[in-house]
Structures are given as structure tokens and as C-alpha cells.
């Protein structure tokens, strides 16, 4: 007998390139905020899910075990989930199933990343995800890979670079209202992005979100006990996830089909037939500006190749018809891999609960979708929240 699952609390630390706090301390600060938001004590929490991406970032092998006491996990049923860049939305999916299954009434989800420990730059850790025999001997890095994907996307649809740069401008401006933001900029322009340092054509410096330290937390609660905590719950509508093989060489990169598979799974569960009409706003994963567009299309929020046009027309602005990344996204708030749960799912909760402050979407949204993406262009994780 599947239980309906509500979100009753959220928390998020500031995101910065390097924070003084340990991963445990960051986890504690985010978890405590979510517990205070919900008005809940450690004793009220049945189970804990930790989401944190490769051990190589923090530099602590089996870091889920290291972080657990900071996540209220000491002496509790606790599990770490991890699937690279998809973790920020997969961790809350795991929190959802702990409650939906009836095993827990209340489940705390903490997502943490400390990329600053990998010194001098976490790119060295990313180098280990490639095939050790076929790819790594050539010393590739992820920017090259995404530059090729971006190029393919631009070529297939005839997209101009300036229409992609608009995404970076929108998100860095949206982040101005976010108290955790690392890269908010109220004055950034399309020209700033187009004039930023070329890294691997067509990817320039301001097309990319930065590595960050940070943590976020969410509390999930069963329909059976939710009235103890709130009269006006935000509900999980649906969840979906999908992963393709590492053989990215064998698929056309212009469209992320695994995102569409994950979205369809979530929409089916949520009873969403026409996502463009029924979804009010979205937080697609935006580690690069073109990825927001790519993922809007993967999430079936528009036609293939239409996302840059909607962006140019202002539809995706916070006060537009389909606000996209009202949080400021990864481009504006920062990209501590798993902790981007703060923008991709906590933001849905804050918007739907009317707790988004300066970032609040003015049109009273009732349904939002968040999505994360990762690995070698493989993984998609999707969650729909609704009021």
C-alpha cells in the first residue's frame, strides 16, 4: 500500500568555492535548518538518506560513513545513495521511497559536497571517471566532452551562441535573490558571457557553473503523520530516473533521451499528460547554460530546438509563462554536485510553500519539476512536487 509523501522542511548552507566547514559540519548545518523549518527533533526522524557524489571530491573513502553523524544518522537506519551528477535529485527520490513504502514515517535527506578539498582543482577527480583503457590515456577532461555535445546541439538546430548565453545571464541574475548564491550578478550581460575566456570551443568561462562546497537537506513525511507538522503540505507528485550506457559514442548527443525516459516515468506517476500545460515551473539541471535548454527539451517542456527561442522571448524568466531555474540554478548559485538538491528540489518546495522570498514566482505555482543529470552524459533523475 503506497503512501502519499509530503515535503515538510528544507535547508541549505551557503555555496562557496571553498568553505572552512568540514563535510560533517556542512551536513549538520543544512540538516538542522530543515529540522527547524519543519519543527522536528532527531527523535522524530525514522530514517536518513545521504546523497553525496564521488569520494574523490572530499578525499574521504566511503564518505557516506564519515558524514553520517553530521546528518543525524548516528544510531539510525541510514544509507548513502550516489549516482554522480544525478545524486542531487536521486537522494530525494530515495527519501521518497523510504516513506512511500511505509517503512518510515519521516525521512531526512541530506546532500553534501566538498569539492574544494580536491586540490588544486576537482577536475583531477573527474579524470578518473573515463574508461581507463580507451579514454584516459588521452587525458580528456569533461569540458571537452560537453563542448562537443554543445556543438552538436547548436549544429542540429542552428542555434546561435548568444541565445545560449541568455541562460547564463538569466540564472546569474535570478541568483541575486538567493542567500546561498556564489555567483549572483545583477548586471551581467550577454556580451559578458560572449567575451569571457574561451575554454574549449564553444564553451566559454561564463557558460559553466563553478565547483563549490555546500550542503542541503529535505524532510519527507508520510500522509499518516503530515498533519502534525503542517496544514498545507507540498506533495511529491512523481519520481523518475534513467541511465544510459557509458558508450556515449554510440548515440546522437543533440537530444538527451534518458532525460525524456525519466521524465515520462515521473509524469506518469504524477498523472501529468501534457507537461507544457500542467507544469508551472521547472528546475532543469544547468551546470552549463546549454544544458538548461537541452534538459527543458528532455523534460518535454517544449519541442526539440525550441528552448532557446522560449528563452529569447522571455518565457523562461521568473515572471514568464514557464519560469526556468527561478533559484538561479547551478550557474548562479553554484555547483556542489549532490548539494544542488538545494536548487533542484528544495527550490520546488520553497516556491510551492510560498517560502522563496525574493525569488518567489508571482503567479502562484502549483506544480514544479526538478531534474539532475550526470556521469558521461548518462544519468537523469526527475522529481515532481505539487500543491
Amino acid at each position: 500500500m503506497k503512501k502519499d509523501v509530503a515535503v515538510i522542511g528544507g535547508g541549505m548552507t551557503i555555496f562557496r568555492r571553498r568553505l572552512k566547514e568540514t563535510g560533517k559540519e556542512l551536513s549538520f548545518l543544512a540538516a538542522k535548518m530543515a529540522m527547524e523549518d519543519a519543527g522536528i527533533q532527531k527523535d522524530d526522524i525514522d530514517m536518513i538518506v545521504m546523497g553525496t557524489a564521488p569520494d574523490a571530491f572530499d578525499g574521504i573513502h566511503m564518505k557516506g560513513e564519515n558524514l553520517l553523524d553530521g546528518a543525524a544518522g548516528a544510531g539510525k537506519p541510514y544509507v548513502r545513495v550516489f549516482n554522480g551528477g544525478g545524486t542531487g535529485v536521486f537522494a530525494p527520490i530515495a527519501g521518497w521511497w523510504h516513506v512511500a513504502s511505509g517503512v518510515a514515517d519521516v525521512c531526512l535527506v541530506v546532500a553534501e559536497e566538498k569539492m574544494g578539498s580536491c586540490y588544486p582543482h576537482p577536475q583531477t577527480a573527474f579524470q578518473h571517471i573515463w574508461d581507463p583503457v580507451l579514454d584516459r590515456p588521452l587525458h580528456p577532461n569533461l569540458v571537452w566532452l560537453f563542448a562537443m555535445e554543445m556543438n552538436r546541439y547548436m549544429t542540429v538546430h542552428g542555434i546561435k551562441k548568444e541565445d545560449i548565453a541568455r541562460v547564463a545571464v538569466k540564472n546569474k541574475r535570478n541568483a541575486v535573490g538567493h542567500p546561498c548564491a556564489q555567483l549572483a550578478d545583477p548586471n551581467i550581460t550577454v556580451d559578458d558571457v560572449l567575451n569571457s575566456e574561451m575554454m574549449a570551443w564553444p564553451v566559454q568561462r561564463l557558460d559553466i557553473s563553478p565547483p563549490s562546497d555546500g550542503a542541503a537537506a529535505l524532510l519527507f513525511c508520510s500522509e499518516d503523520v503530515v498533519r502534525q507538522y503542517t496544514d498545507d503540505p507540498v506533495w511529491v507528485g512523481g519520481v523518475g530516473w534513467n541511465i544510459d550506457s557509458t558508450m556515449w559514442t554510440n548515440r546522437d548527443l543533440y537530444f538527451p533521451r534518458y532525460v525524456a525516459h525519466a521524465a515520462k516515468m515521473a509524469y506518469k506517476m504524477a498523472g501529468i499528460v501534457n507537461p507544457r500545460k500542467e507544469i508551472d515551473f521547472a528546475e532543469p539541471y544547468d551546470p552549463f547554460d546549454y544544458k538548461e535548454l537541452h534538459h527543458m527539451e528532455g523534460l518535454l517542456l517544449c519541442d526539440k530546438g525550441e528552448a532557446p527561442i522560449l528563452t529569447r522571448e522571455g518565457v523562461t524568466q521568473r515572471d514568464g509563462d514557464m519560469p526556468i531555474c527561478p533559484s538561479g540554478g547551478l550557474l548562479g548559485v553554484g555547483n556542489p554536485i549532490a548539494a544542488t538538491m538545494g536548487q533542484k528540489v528544495c527550490e520546488l518546495y520553497w516556491q510551492l510553500a510560498g517560502k522563496a522570498g525574493k525569488r518567489q514566482i508571482p503567479t502562484n505555482p502549483r506544480v514544479g519539476v526538478g531534474q539532475a543529470w550526470g556521469d558521461i552524459m548518462q544519468m537523469a533523475t526527475v522529481m515532481v512536487l505539487k500543491r
Binding site: R18, L19, K20, E21, T22, K24, E25, F28, A31, K32, M35, Q41, K42, A56, G59, D69, G70, A72, A74, G75, G116, S117, C118, Y119, P120, T124, A125, Q127, H128, P132, V133, R136, P137
Partner: protein, 159 residues
């Protein structure tokens, strides 16, 4: 399917020889920063007291993992750099399976006036005897040589 071929030379199958580069700069954290800065300039330790359950954390921590509350600044206390051996072992073989030139005794030291303990090297005049319950004190680097790291504690010695 069964594997019939026994590999005695790991380099015999065709292969690529790789390595995993990984260098780190681990921050001490909010609590650790205060602890190590104190250790650099003092001959005793710092600990933190949970405002709810009054458990005394050593090494000091920012939060109580049981009560899940933040420990405020006024709950930091100084404690002596002395303790009692709770557990110990003497190692004679190193991690590579080789006989060590000199054996090494390590133990878990319950730090006085706290509920915490730390791993430390133990030196005693009579290394063969049972060290359980032995009263020890931390021998620190000369103050001018300290760097504010765990290595400033050289070893624990019988009082």
C-alpha cells in the same frame, strides 16, 4: 563459462598502466580550526560541552550528534593533556607485511575530564607490561616547532 587460465604474471595480458592522481587540502573545520590554533600555543587541549546532555566532546565538535544541537562558543573548555590508556596494541609488522626495525605501540587514550578519546603513540619504560589503565601525558613538540596539526602531539608517555 569457467576461467581456466591462471595468471601468474599480471603484466602478461595486454594492458594500459595507469594511476589515479589525487591531491587534497583538507580544512580542519570550524571546531578543528579552534582546537588546532589552541594546541599551537598551549600545552593543554580544548573540548566542547553539549548544552543539552552535557557530554564533553574531545576532540571538540561543533554539534552534539545525539541531541543534534549546535554547541555555542561559551561551551568550550580547557582540559589537561593527560589521560588513561583504554586500548593498545604493539605492531611488529608493517602494512606491507615486512618486519619493522622497531616495534610501535599505539593506543586509544581516554582524555581526562572529557567523554572523548584519541589515537596516540605510547611510550613506556616497560613496553612488555600491560598498559591498560596506564596514566599518560601528551608530549608535544617544542612550541616554536608546532604547526597547529595533529602531528604536534608527538606521543603519550607514562606519568
Amino acid at each position: 563459462m569457467t576461467f581456466t587460465e591462471k595468471q601468474t604474471d599480471p603484466t602478461a595480458p595486454t594492458h594500459w598502466r595507469g594511476n589515479m592522481q589525487a591531491d587534497y587540502l583538507y580544512p580542519n573545520g570550524v571546531a578543528g580550526d579552534k582546537f588546532f590554533k589552541h594546541l599551537k600555543n598551549n600545552d593543554n587541549f580544548l573540548a566542547t560541552v553539549c548544552p543539552d546532555c552535557e557530554k564533553i566532546f574531545f576532540p571538540p565538535r561543533l554539534y552534539c550528534e545525539d541531541c543534534f544541537v549546535e554547541i555555542p562558543g561559551e561551551n568550550w573548555i580547557e582540559v589537561p593533556a593527560t589521560g588513561t590508556v583504554r586500548l593498545f596494541t604493539t605492531a611488529t609488522i608493517n602494512a606491507h607485511g615486512k618486519k619493522m626495525e622497531t616495534s610501535k605501540t599505539i593506543g586509544l587514550i581516554d582524555i581526562d575530564k572529557t567523554d572523548g578519546a584519541m589515537l596516540g603513540i605510547i611510550k613506556s619504560s616497560e613496553m612488555d607490561k600491560d598498559l591498560l589503565g596506564l596514566k599518560v601525558k601528551a608530549i608535544l613538540r617544542p612550541r616554536e616547532q608546532r604547526e597547529g596539526t595533529i602531528k604536534d602531539i608527538l606521543y603519550f608517555e607514562e606519568i
